[in-house]
């Protein structure tokens, strides 16, 4: 069988290994957040009616799309989202590979069109990911796009990089391991759910190796987090995590006042978990950050005692200090006006007019403008709030 081999230069491999590789897709023109993109969908009008009517269904429909004039034929489109599912302004998942074998668009096989129905500012997620990135946490690229379906304007969407093998390869330098997407079903906070893999795979849904999902290491990780004594807990977790990186991830979530993340109000939510190939080590990847920046006043230790993994890690004074240091670092590096305000204003400038003419959004234009103004307040005051809590 003839197969193509690709050879990577040692220098590039070294850079990837160190995590120094640039956010490959972030540099792609379709994720240029500095411009408003044009995403056009052409499909059978009846199919679109069905998609909007049965927006809870995952039925795919064939469509042709163009992004900034670049055409792709016979992609699969379906409704997507969890709490954000909508028939008025449906979130969309575009699968370039559904009908056309190995069809890619800028190296992507899936495109996520987030309908922004839970953020009246259109700013939370676009400002959250740069903070994760500034703190060394790989996160998806994002841009703003107008979406039209059969030439009808359906509003402003976020075009978000899908977490897939391409993302893993570009950002983590490894793609053959087990990727799980956390699917919110119930209030779950990393408790031991027994030894049946099905109990875990229902919420940690496999995104790679779907035919033969392997939850062995995941179960070991969760059970170890529950059963290991607090003494030496961080060392024990070192088998499954880069503990400092995980604490940085949690620190960012609280620095940006994230309401619905790993330490979510109603349990864990909105992340991917990747197990490196041939290892038991996992890494967390943020997702769906549209409920971040909910307030300028947000406890830096918000809900850290509600999750067994975080609670036991922070029981170690050294790790707690590291966590607090990372929040301070986040505030100094990214959660401040100097870093975020120019981005906020640039994003606002890019999408404002399109948002105002977006009649599908579940907010009024006044709510949008008020929300943006409120966001300016959060961005302007959040750093000081953190500093007041961690002098």
């Amino acid at each position: 069988m003839r197969r193509t081999r690709s050879f990577m230069s040692p220098a590039l491999l070294f850079a990837l290994t160190l995590g120094l590789a640039p956010a490959a897709r972030a540099a792609d023109p379709i994720f240029n957040i500095g411009v408003l993109h044009e995403f056009r969908i052409v499909m059978d009008p009846k199919d679109w009616s069905s998609l909007t009517r049965d927006f809870l269904s995952n039925q795919y429909y064939a469509a042709n799309i163009s992004v900034d004039g670049e055409v792709l034929q016979q992609v699969g489109i379906r409704s997507r989202g969890k709490g954000s599912r909508s028939g008025t302004k449906p979130g969309l998942l575009v699968d370039t590979n559904k009908y056309v074998t190995n069809q890619e668009f800028h190296g992507l096989k899936k495109l996520v069109l987030d309908n922004v129905t839970q953020d009246n500012t259109f700013l939370h997620e676009p400002l959250a990911y740069p903070v994760f990135e500034a703190m060394g946490i790989a996160s998806p690229a994002l841009s703003y796009t107008r979406v039209t379906v059969n030439d009808e304007y359906w509003g402003v969407y976020w075009l978000i990089e899908n977490i897939d093998k391409n993302f893993l390869s570009a950002r983590l330098g490894d793609k053959e391991g087990n990727l799980f997407k956390y699917e919110y079903i119930e209030d779950y906070r990393f408790q031991d759910k027994g030894s049946d893999p099905r109990a875990y795979l229902a919420i940690f849904q496999p995104e790679t190796h779907e035919d033969k999902p392997d939850a062995t290491a995941l179960i070991q990780f969760i059970q170890a987090a529950n059963n290991a004594p607090e003494t030496g807990f961080a060392a024990a977790m070192g088998q499954y995590l880069d503990v400092d990186k995980f604490l940085t991830y949690i620190a960012v979530e609280n620095a940006i006042a994230g309401q619905d993340g790993f330490l979510g109000l109603q349990g864990m939510n909105n992340f991917y978990l990747y197990q490196f190939t041939g290892q038991t080590k996992f890494v967390f990847i943020p997702w769906d950050q549209d409920t971040s920046f909910v307030s300028a006043s947000w406890p830096v230790l918000q809900r850290v005692d509600t999750n067994v993994l975080v609670r036991k890690l922070l029981a170690d004074p050294a790790k707690k200090q590291f966590y607090l240091d990372q929040i301070k670092a986040a505030a100094a590096r990214a959660v401040n006006s100097a870093f975020l305000m120019p981005k906020l204003e640039a994003n606002y400038s890019v999408m404002r007019n399109a948002v105002l003419s977006d009649t599908k959004k579940p907010f009024t234009n006044d709510q949008f403008e008020t929300g943006v103004q409120g966001m300016r307040g959060v961005v302007g005051a959040r750093q000081a709030d953190i500093q007041s809590q961690i002098p």
Binding site: M43, S57, Y99
Partner: protein, 406 residues
């Protein structure tokens, strides 16, 4: 099984009827009025794919490189006018039971067969996988022909040179996702010259699917895969009448075999539109033509027996073959509106493919067959081809080792 075959003495190759229990070909036991015959075969396939990789080095989903394809065992029992046929596959992951039939021979022109059997459509499909000319069946036989199902069939030769099979079945594929409900099927064959036979066949059944039943989201339309395993056509949602109509022509003269077959399957799509509207019918048409030649001079029959097997100092039987086959799927509605590949598309984006197959088979002894095939695939729609933008050709090399109790 191989051990059993080897253990059989060469002297016991000819059955002796009427002398108590006698070992016959393979494993056959006979006594007056009652005969038992053990049947079975094993097939191991090897595949190699060429030209399927895309510029970024990825391969589409194809069949596996090596595969134990079939591990069949069966028993045939004859007692007067009654005969029982039982076939079981130990390897099939979907359903082990293949055939289970009881036949009553009333007169030559009327046999009644009941049980689980192949529906009488497409002679290629009705031929045992151990005896087909090429390693893979033609596109029409693999994608459009029905499967096995429980039913009652009348068959026989009421007139000289005229055979028929007609039956009523519980469905058209007992284990298939696309199964229709009660299906009638039949095949008529007339040999109007020595060695030349013309057949017509067809089936009709009702497929029931409720598009509004979200708990039943399986599509019941045709699923078309190329011999390489590449998906040519995604299964669509259908509901209503499924009708097959086909014709075939077979010619055998000494060592030469020629064959041609056409089969069309139409499926209604009542209420299967994305807004539960009726859609134009799905129409799939396939045809094939093949030629085989036993270069070692044996007569072309369904079971090939070498004139000079290697255990008698010969070279066995060698057959060369070539086949062309093609299949297209479209709808019978107006060619307007968005032409989509989706499984509820009103205007189905037409797809199709053609294959050329060159084959070589060698029977060193009656129990053993080695086959090698080279298959060249080409696709009508370059966008939906294995490598987008490239219609063909895509080459698959196949090899098969087969042990059989003939």
């Amino acid at each position: 099984m191989a051990g059993l075959l080897v253990a059989l003495p060469a002297a016991a190759q000819q059955p002796e009827q009427g002398k108590g229990w006698v070992f016959g070909p393979g494993a056959r036991v006979a006594r007056p009025g009652l005969q038992f015959r053990l049947t079975g075969y094993v097939q191991e396939d090897l595949r190699s794919f060429h030209d399927y990789e895309s510029p970024n080095g990825e391969l589409p989903a194809l069949s596996t490189d090596t595969e134990l394809r079939r591990l069949r065992s069966g028993l045939e029992v004859e007692w007067g006018r009654l005969s029982l046929d039982f076939n079981y596959d130990f390897h099939d992951s979907v359903e082990h039971l293949k055939d289970l039939t009881l036949e009553i021979k009333i007169v030559k022109g009327l046999h009644i067969v009941g049980g689980d059997m192949k529906l009488p459509v497409s002679p290629e499909w009705l031929t045992s996988a151990a005896k087909i000319d090429f390693i893979e069946r033609s596109l029409l036989a693999s994608a459009l022909a029905p499967g096995r199902d429980w039913g009652v069939e009348l068959t026989g030769e009421p007139f000289k040179h005229f055979n028929y099979q007609v039956g009523v079945f519980a469905g058209d594929d007992r284990t298939g996702q696309a199964r229709a409900d009660t299906t009638v099927a039949g095949r008529l064959e007339y040999s109007f010259l020595k060695g030349l036979a013309l057949g017509v066949n067809g089936s009709q059944g009702q497929v029931h699917a409720d598009a509004q039943d979200v708990s039943n989201s399986l599509a019941h339309g045709a699923s078309v895969h190329a011999p390489s395993g590449f998906r040519i056509y995604e299964r669509h949602f259908v509901s209503g009448t499924r009708r097959r109509l086909g014709t075939d022509l077979q010619y055998r003269y000494k060592s030469l075999g020629l064959g041609g077959e056409y089969l069309q399957m139409t499926s209604e799509r009542n209420g299967q539109g994305s807004v539960f509207d009726d859609l134009p019918r799905e129409v799939a048409r396939g045809w094939s033509a093949s030629a085989t030649w036993l270069v070692t001079g044996e007569r072309k029959t369904r079971t090939i027996k070498a004139n000079h097997p290697i255990n008698h100092g010969g070279i066995g039987a060698v057959e060369l073959g070539v086949r062309y086959d093609a299949l297209k799927v479209d709808d019978d509605g107006p060619d307007s509106g968005f032409e989509g590949a989706g499984n509820r598309a009103r205007n189905i984006r037409p797809v199709g493919g053609q294959t050329w197959t060159a084959g070589l088979s060698w029977w060193p002894i009656v129990f053993l067959r080695f086959s090698g095939n080279a298959i060249w695939e080409r696709y009508d729609d370059p966008l939906l081809a294995p490598v987008p933008g490239q219609k063909g050709g895509y080459t698959t090399l196949l090899a098969r080792l087969q042990f059989v109790i003939p």
